[in-house]
């Protein structure tokens, strides 16, 4: 089972690079959603069966695989944009930096020991690498929607690590964290809608009236 979990984690890492390398927003959203679905499958592979676990699997898949992507896709349709335009950090540099961060994540993870039952799994490097790639997207892109995608990538990274704790964390905490994420994305969707109406663009570099001289 563990080797399958590792393969899925590698797939997660690859999906990071798809997001880093593409300018098409809808494509990025799908990649993040697929990552969310994988996140839902993973706890079932490493923890023994329990109803608590079933609840987690279902709710993660529903929230990250369906609800959040739908919310963002709707925002994309309303704002009528398809592509990221002239990002601050280009696609090739993003990919190179992403590779760099991923290797750093492996070095970082080697210094932190895992509990015996998780020995040899890639959870820690996958989590840190996804977090960093999300951060890269967040910092490097202009469009508000790209920044939300970066934020979701970061959240996915954090959840990857959280899966190690899936059967130990009280269900209320998990549910609360997911609910907060959902509401957060919902509010971001509304704000994006207002940005596109106010500025007739989603280019956040236009948001510069408040800069300190």
């Amino acid at each position: 089972m563990n080797s399958l979990a590792d393969q899925l984690l590698v797939l997660c890492l690859l999906l990071n690079f798809t997001v880093l390398g593409t300018s098409r927003l809808a494509f990025s959203v799908r990649a993040v959603a697929l990552q969310g679905v994988i996140l839902g499958v993973l706890p079932a592979l490493i923890h023994p069966f329990s109803w608590h676990l079933v609840l987690i699997v279902v709710s993660i898949m529903l929230a990250k695989g369906a609800l959040i992507p739908i919310l963002i896709m709707r925002a994309i349709r309303k704002a009528e944009i398809q592509r990221e335009f002239e990002p601050f950090i280009g696609y090739i540099p993003s990919l190179v930096l992403g590779a760099l961060f991923t290797s750093l994540a492996f070095i970082f993870a080697a210094r932190l020991p895992l509990a015996p039952e998780h020995e040899g799994l890639l959870f820690v490097p996958a989590s840190i690498a996804t977090l960093m790639c999300g951060f890269l997207v967040l910092m490097g892109r202009r469009k508000a929607i790209s920044q939300v995608i970066g934020y979701l990538l970061m959240e996915n990274g954090i959840f990857i690590f959280g899966l190690l704790l899936a059967d130990a964390m009280p269900v209320m905490v998990e549910a609360g964290a997911l609910l907060d994420l959902l509401v957060g994305v919902f509010v971001m969707g509304i704000v994006i809608n207002h940005i596109s109406r106010e500025f007739s663009t989603l280019d956040t570099s236009r948001l510069s009236a408040l800069r300190e001289e």
């Binding site: 210094r111 020991p113 967040l138 990274g157 690590f161 704790l165 130990a168 907060d180 957060g184 009236a209």
Partner: protein, 479 residues
């Protein structure tokens, strides 16, 4: 036990009521109604604290009590002010504002009573999200920019804090204990947790909660959000939300001090505090927007609190007292500056001059609160800042003490150069005609707060003193 749940759920009931009230004017009265009930319940709970809930998740300890008390007072004052304020903004629909304010109150209450760090995190994230529509109340290009920055930076910060919490939980697994994020068990087992994971957890938690608090260099969202939000929202951000984030940081501090890493954690806090004060001193000078100036003042004061936490021992009492002083004084500053903003329809020092003539009460309050926040006697912040800086010298930490005093002086000069022309000065010749005049509705709430700030400078009531001492004891402060 049920009392506690009722306490957290009551503001949610208020939120529902506000949402369902169709009339704009009548809706604004829902705020003070529920805020006063909340304040009454707070007082009751402070006197008769219920025992911890069966799982130990919900309990009001001394630190929680202090935060709850200052939040509840501040919210009640802001709610009373809101009635008068919203009267001037009758054209703008306030349904979202009233509802979000009350949801935020519920989340802030939950932050103060939770002893489970996961639950604490959820509540803190909820306060972050509910504040976003409030910052956007004015619905213009500038406020949407501020909202976007706030939402993104705080969401990322708080997400990093979640990872820190996961690390902390994992350090208990590696150390072969039951996984638990209950504060009590984390403190008692702190030294047995796995050192590597614990170390990583502290760093992530500090960055996460630090960005929510606005410690430099993680403060970049603050000037925008504070500058664009309506005055009463600014007051709640600077007094309420900052204290909630601070309480979360104090929980981490409790665990860190119980482990072997307390000294390192304190050094980092001390450094961040000094950097925050330095940032504030630089950006406060020549600030032409008086609401943005208040944001830098907020950066300064979270810096002061961080320095006090870094010094530890006797300074802890000062840190907690300063937390309350800062919240109350920021309330006066934001509410009175909101009044001036309404009266001049501008918040730039270019147009706002001679406020003492145009809005005598608000102008005077703004001036008095400026003196208080910069640490002039006889107001509250003077006492707490004096306690902190004297601890620095007693500990022979002369560099910290000296830098602290230099920054305070620079900030006083910087802030005075903005505040004095606004308040004193001559009225500009061409004055925009606005409907705002000082009335009891918009002046009495900040006046009441100012009275409290003055009282804390002259005399701290014995029960509050006991509470402060007990809370400082929880942080590891000696007598």
């Amino acid at each position: 036990m049920y009392m506690m749940w009722a306490f957290v759920l009551l503001p949610l009931l208020g939120a529902l009521t506000a949402w369902l009230t169709p009339d704009n004017r009548r809706r604004s009265f829902v705020l003070p109604l529920f805020a006063l009930v909340h304040l009454a319940m707070t007082t009751w709970l402070l006197i008769r604290t219920p025992p911890p809930s069966p799982g130990g998740w919900i309990f009001l300890d001394a630190l929680g009590k202090l935060t709850l008390l200052s939040n509840s007072i501040l919210f009640a004052v802001c709610a009373a002010y809101a009635v008068g304020y919203l009267n001037y903004r009758r054209k703008r629909n306030n349904r979202v504002l009233c509802t979000a304010l009350l949801i935020c109150l519920s989340a802030m209450t939950l932050v103060t009573v939770s002893q489970h760090l996961g639950l604490l995190w959820i509540a803190l994230e909820m306060t972050t999200i509910t504040m976003a529509p409030l910052i956007y109340f004015n619905h213009n290009a500038r406020s949407i920019e501020a909202t976007w920055k706030y939402l993104l930076i705080c969401s990322v910060g708080i997400a990093i804090a979640l990872l820190g919490l996961f690390f902390l939980a994992y350090s208990t697994i590696v150390a072969k204990q039951d996984v638990s994020l209950l504060l009590g068990s984390l403190i008692s087992d702190a030294s047995r947790l796995h050192a590597g994971w614990r170390h990583a957890a502290f760093i992530f938690l500090l960055v996460g909660f630090g960005s929510k608090m606005g410690l430099a260099p993680l403060h970049t969202w603050k000037p925008d959000a504070y500058g664009e939000a309506p005055g009463l929202v600014g007051a709640l951000l600077a007094g309420g939300l900052v204290n909630c984030a601070l309480l979360s940081l104090l929980r981490v501090y409790q665990i860190a001090m119980a482990s072997s890493e307390g000294a390192l954690f304190q050094e980092v806090l001390l450094g961040m505090g000094l950097v925050s004060m330095a940032f504030a001193a630089v950006f406060m000078a020549r600030q032409s927007d008086f609401k943005r100036m208040l944001a830098y003042s907020s950066v300064e004061h979270v810096g002061i609190i961080a320095i006090a936490l870094g010094l530890g021992r006797a300074a802890l009492f000062g840190a907690l007292l300063h937390m309350i002083n800062n919240a109350l004084t920021k309330g006066v500053l934001f509410l009175s500056s909101g009044n001036m903003h309404r009266a001049y329809n501008s918040k730039s020092t270019q147009f706002v001059r001679g406020a003492l003539k145009r809005t005598p009460w608000s102008g005077a309050l703004f001036l008095a609160a400026f003196l208080a926040i910069t640490g002039s006697p006889p107001f509250g912040p003077f006492v707490s800042e004096f306690l902190i800086v004297s601890t620095a010298f007693v500990q022979q930490n002369y560099w910290t003490g000296a830098l602290f005093l230099v920054f305070l002086a620079l900030i006083f000069i910087g802030m005075a150069s903005t505040v004095l022309p606004c308040v004193m000065g001559k009225l500009p010749k061409s004055l925009e005609n606005t409907p705002y005049r000082d009335t009891a509705h918009t002046v009495l709430p900040p006046l009441f707060l100012m009275g409290l700030v003055l009282m804390l400078g002259l005399w701290i009531p014995a029960p509050l003193q006991d509470l402060l001492r007990e809370a400082a004891g929880l942080l590891g402060g000696g007598k």
